[in-house]
Every structure is written in structure tokens, then in C-alpha cells.
Symmetry: C2
Subunit: 338 residues, 2 copies
């Protein structure tokens, strides 16, 4: 296994102590006398000793690793979450095992099963499998859901109601009367949650479920063009950009022919043509909160908080009033993410 030559025993010899002493210096330093501790540390540095994770785990200690599952790492939304989780890991000397489930439910659980036993806990983004299944797979290992609330599971999610309300209110305020909300895949908690909100709001047209990707957005554009919808709240930014692209390809214009509101505020939203009005998600916070939650559970916390993060509306040029309002278009607004 690589250069893994130097073991704890080597360090022990070098420092002239028993292996167990070295082990203790590493795990519970306060148990060891000052002089010995120093000597051991010196030996560790001299030999460039790196503990063998497998052995450590096998002996019953912590693994020092967490598993992160995402439906699609190329989706910037998840990439950001992953990144801030990873930063948390680095700060705490943990390793991150990442699996991309490719949005397939079966893979989600099988990946988790493969990882269980190799990690101390899980952060799972937008899980689709049933909560029961998850609890069964992870057993007693701490589990944090991102972007899905579930009974008995710690989670950090976006305020889905606010997403719908901010988007719709903005469109209404701009004078739109025929407003569509695009539903996401029913397997997503966020999608189901939004459906619930939409149902309570009068006068909305719904489309979908439509996959939250660019291609699906393009396809959806065709349907939208055939309708009398003038304002649409997409399921996320990537899909929204697809709608825009679909319109552009058909010679139509956003926002002239259709006002589009996205959701997430990924970097592309500010760079697209036109810049996308969107309900901004605090991605960095999402990841940070998820890691914190997991870290706390790992440390022995027993509550399972269900954190809801607020969202904000970022108005750009993809929405336009039916009457005459002018639109904002500034790269300065981009500052709010990251």
C-alpha cells in the first residue's frame, strides 16, 4: 500500500517507548507525561509517520471519514455544498468519500451501503430513497439530509415556501397574470414541498414534473410558447437557463416574450444572457450547516435539528413587467453567493 512503511511500532522504537504509548499520544495526549509526549512527537515527525486509517478503524476507533452523496456533482449547486463540506472536513482532519448517485434511487442506497462501515457518518444531498430505508442502511451512524426534511433525521433545507412565494410575488408584482410554476421530479422532497405550497396559491399554472436540467428546460420552452404563460418560475437555475435557451433558439426573447425566474442563484445565473432573476440559495451556508450538524452528531449530540435556511430574491434581467418596469442587471448582485 503505497509508501506506508512507517508504522506506529516504528515510531515506538524510535522514541524508545511502547506502541500503546504512541497510540495514546495520538488519541488521548493528556494521559501521557510531558517528556514522553514530546519525545514521541519528535519521533513522529522524524519518521513522517501517518496513521493507518484502516487499522485505526478496525481497532474500533473512529474512521475519520464521512460519506457525502450527491445526485449530480456537475450541478454547481451541489458542487458548492460539497466544497464547503470538504472544507469542514479539512479543518477537522476528516476525509470525504464522495459518491455521485447520478440521480438514481437504486444507486443512492447501494452507494450508501457500500460506504456504511467505512465512514463515521453521512451527508446526503436531495435523497430520493425513503427515510426508512436510509435509517436502515446507515444504522446508528449519524445522518444529515441536505435539501430534504424528514422525521427523525437531522437536516438542513431551504425554505421551499419562500422560494415559491418570492418568485410568484415578484412575477405578480411585475404585472404577470398567467404565471406558471415548473414542478420538479416527484422523488424530490423539495419538489413535493413546493407542490404543496403551490396548491394553496390560487391562479397558478403548473408544468411538469420536468427534470431539473438544461435539456429538459429547452424542451419545456416549446410547451410554454404554445401557452399564454408570460411568467415562469423554474425548478432551478439550470432548468431556467434551458427555458431561456429554448426561447432563444426559437427566435423568441426572454424577458420580452417570457419572464423567467430561476432558483438557486448559481454562478451561471449572473453570467447568462439575459442574467437570470432567481431565488438565491445560501449554498455555502447549506454545506457549512450540514457539516456542523454532522460534526455535532459525531461528537455525541442527540437532537436531530431540522434547519431551514432562508432564501432571497435576486432580481436580474430575465424578468420584465408586462407594463413598463425596468430591470436590474448588475454583476454586483453576484456577490451574495460565496
Amino acid at each position: 500500500m503505497s509508501s506506508q512503511a512507517v508504522t506506529l511500532a516504528d515510531v515506538a522504537v524510535e522514541a524508545g517507548v511502547h506502541p500503546s504509548t504512541v497510540s495514546r499520544v495520538l488519541s488521548r495526549p493528556q494521559l501521557i507525561g510531558e517528556p514522553t509526549r514530546t519525545a514521541v512527537h519528535a519521533a513522529i515527525h522524524k519518521l513522517v509517520y501517518t496513521p493507518n486509517r484502516a487499522a485505526r478503524q478496525l481497532a474500533g476507533g473512529r474512521v475519520g471519514a464521512i460519506g457525502v452523496l450527491v445526485p449530480d456533482i456537475t450541478n454547481p449547486f451541489f458542487a458548492h455544498v460539497v466544497r464547503s463540506v470538504q472544507q469542514g472536513c479539512r479543518r477537522n482532519g476528516l476525509t470525504m468519500l464522495l459518491a455521485d448517485t447520478d440521480q438514481r434511487e437504486a444507486d443512492e442506497l447501494s452507494e450508501a451501503r457500500a460506504l456504511a462501515g467505512s465512514v463515521d457518518g453521512f451527508v446526503v444531498c436531495s435523497p430520493v430513497a425513503a427515510t426508512q430505508q436510509w435509517l436502515q442502511v446507515v444504522g446508528t451512524a449519524p445522518l444529515v439530509f441536505v435539501n430534504r426534511r424528514a422525521n427523525g433525521v437531522a437536516s438542513v433545507a431551504l425554505d421551499q415556501q419562500a422560494i415559491i412565494e418570492l418568485g410568484v410575488t415578484h412575477l405578480r408584482a411585475a404585472g404577470h397574470r398567467s404565471i406558471a410554476v415548473v414542478r420538479g421530479p416527484h422523488s424530490y422532497w423539495s419538489s413535493r414541498e413546493r407542490d404543496r405550497v403551490v396548491r394553496r396559491l390560487p391562479g397558478l399554472v403548473t408544468y411538469g414534473p420536468v427534470r431539473p436540467d438544461f435539456e429538459a428546460g429547452i424542451a419545456l420552452a416549446t410547451d410554454l410558447m404554445r401557452s399564454n404563460v408570460t411568467g415562469v418560475l423554474a425548478f432551478n437555475d439550470v432548468q431556467a437557463l434551458g427555458i431561456v435557451a429554448g426561447y432563444r433558439a426559437a427566435g423568441r426573447s426572454v424577458p420580452r416574450d417570457l419572464s423567467v425566474v430561476g432558483s438557486d442563484d448559481i454562478a451561471d445565473a449572473a453570467m447568462s444572457d439575459p442574467p437570470l432573476t432567481t431565488v438565491a440559495a445560501p449554498v455555502q451556508q447549506l454545506g457549512d450547516a450540514a457539516f456542523d450538524l454532522l460534526a455535532r452528531l459525531l461528537a455525541g449530540a442527540i437532537e436531530r435539528p431540522e434547519i431551514t435556511l432562508p432564501v432571497t430574491l435576486t432580481v436580474r434581467a430575465s424578468t420584465l413587467g408586462r407594463s413598463s418596469t425596468s430591470s436590474t442587471n448588475s454583476i454586483a448582485t453576484k456577490g451574495n453567493h460565496r
Copy 2:
């Protein structure tokens, strides 16, 4: 650790055989007789047995995991590479340990060191640390570099010369006479490689080194506006989009005031305003090739091929001839990645 209750020994009891037999069924099935094998498999399924990775590794077998290091996972270019590597992992029942080095050289090696001994091999994207250091850190573990060629290390990289030539030739053909090439960080192999190519090409202005991100692109725009440059080849798409944004923010227009060519052809390139002309990198192939290479090394191959992948020019609307040429703008061209 989690629900990890059922061990190989349990399976052995259930199947009425010796633990070692179960082990062999899993690792070298052909050694075991058909009837026994079936019985063991039945027991495995019945008990929902999942091998303990740590124990397996400790016992000297394969770890069944590879380490992947990227400078920035939120960069779509790397996200795609990671994703196709991950797909390779899934197909081969491997686990992927991912670390985001945040573009810091120190973190690169320390992450690698932490991972060494927990993985069978490494895929390292755009490494900045010296080859010597890398070889030392990974020891005898297989190592594959992505986007950097190095003596004695298997690698898969893009044809940097073609990137420069395609970009510059395109700009020249459009009638530009004052063309700038933006240099990337000197720590990048790709950047140094491009510098070498640029040096051989007459009449080019260089800028930078400039960080390959959006903000740096915006900042660079200011410099560009003060010059008489009319065409620029950015270090990558994200930076290019930054340049475009910088121009827009200053009330200037791309491509009217400046033709911009990016590099990578990330999804955003097709969605931006204006859609970005760019030298397209075969990201999927990059990841696939990297995984294949590593898999082959893992399987015992001894050659260390240095694969160079070809790039192609995707013309969109961010470049314009100084005379009168018309520009392309079609979402159809997006089809070439993924």
C-alpha cells in the same frame, strides 16, 4: 460502526463453511466449488453481508478505493472529470475519496498524504506540487495526472499547443491584429506549456498570470480596456466569462469591443451572454481516460502512458471579425460535450 453487525464469520456459520472459504468466494470465486459457492452466496444475501473495508485493507488486500484530488470542485471542468471518474468507480465497485485542495499547493500534498494508505491509487487533477514530491508521497501506489504531463507518471492531458493555435488562428482569421493570450498561474503545467507555445508564436501580447476564475477575469477586463487589444484568448471559460462580465459592467460590449475566446467549453459557455467561442475540451473523455489508466495500473500494468487528448474549436458569438464577418450562435453546438 453503523449497522456493521454481520461479519464474514457470521456468513461462514450460516453457510456451514470456514470463514476463509467465504473470503475466497468473494475474492477468487473460481477457486471454490460450485455448490459451496452457491450456498455462500445465499448466506451472504440472506444476512445482507457487507464486507468491512478496513479489515479487508488491513489484511493486505486491495482497499477498493481511489483518491481523487481536484483544485476546485465548483469548477465545472473538474466536476465533469470527477463525475466520469466516479462512474468508472461505480462500474468497478470502487469507492472514490475526493479532496478539494482549494488550489493550494500545501493542501495538495497534505491531503494526498492523508489519503495515501487509504486508497489503491490516485487521480490528481492539475497538480501543482513537484513530480518528485508526488512520487514520494504516493510511494508505489499508481498515480495518474490529469492536465499535466510529467516524466515517469501516467497522465492524460489536453493538447495545449492546439488550444493556443486554434484560438489564435481563429482570432487572426477574423482579422484581429492585436491579440492577447492570458497566461494562467505559473504553477499549472498547462499554463507553462502554453507559455512555451506562445513564445514561439510572433506578434502576441500576453497578460498575467491571471487566476482562472470569474473575479480575476473581471479584474483583467479593466486592463484589457486600457489596451488596444481587440481579441483575447482567455486561460479558461470561467475567466473568459469574467472578462465578458467586466466589459459589460463597464458599458463595453463583447464582441463589438473585444472578441473573447475561452477554453474548456463548460456548459455555461453556451448559455452566457454572448455565447462564448471556446476551445472545447473533451471532459468526459478526460475523466474516462484517467480512470482507465488508473484501472490498468491497478491491474498491474507497468507502462506509464502520457495521453494527449485533442481539442476542437467551438465558434459562438463572443468573437467577431474586425471587418464584417457574421457570428454563429446556436445551442446545437453545445451537443459536443457530454
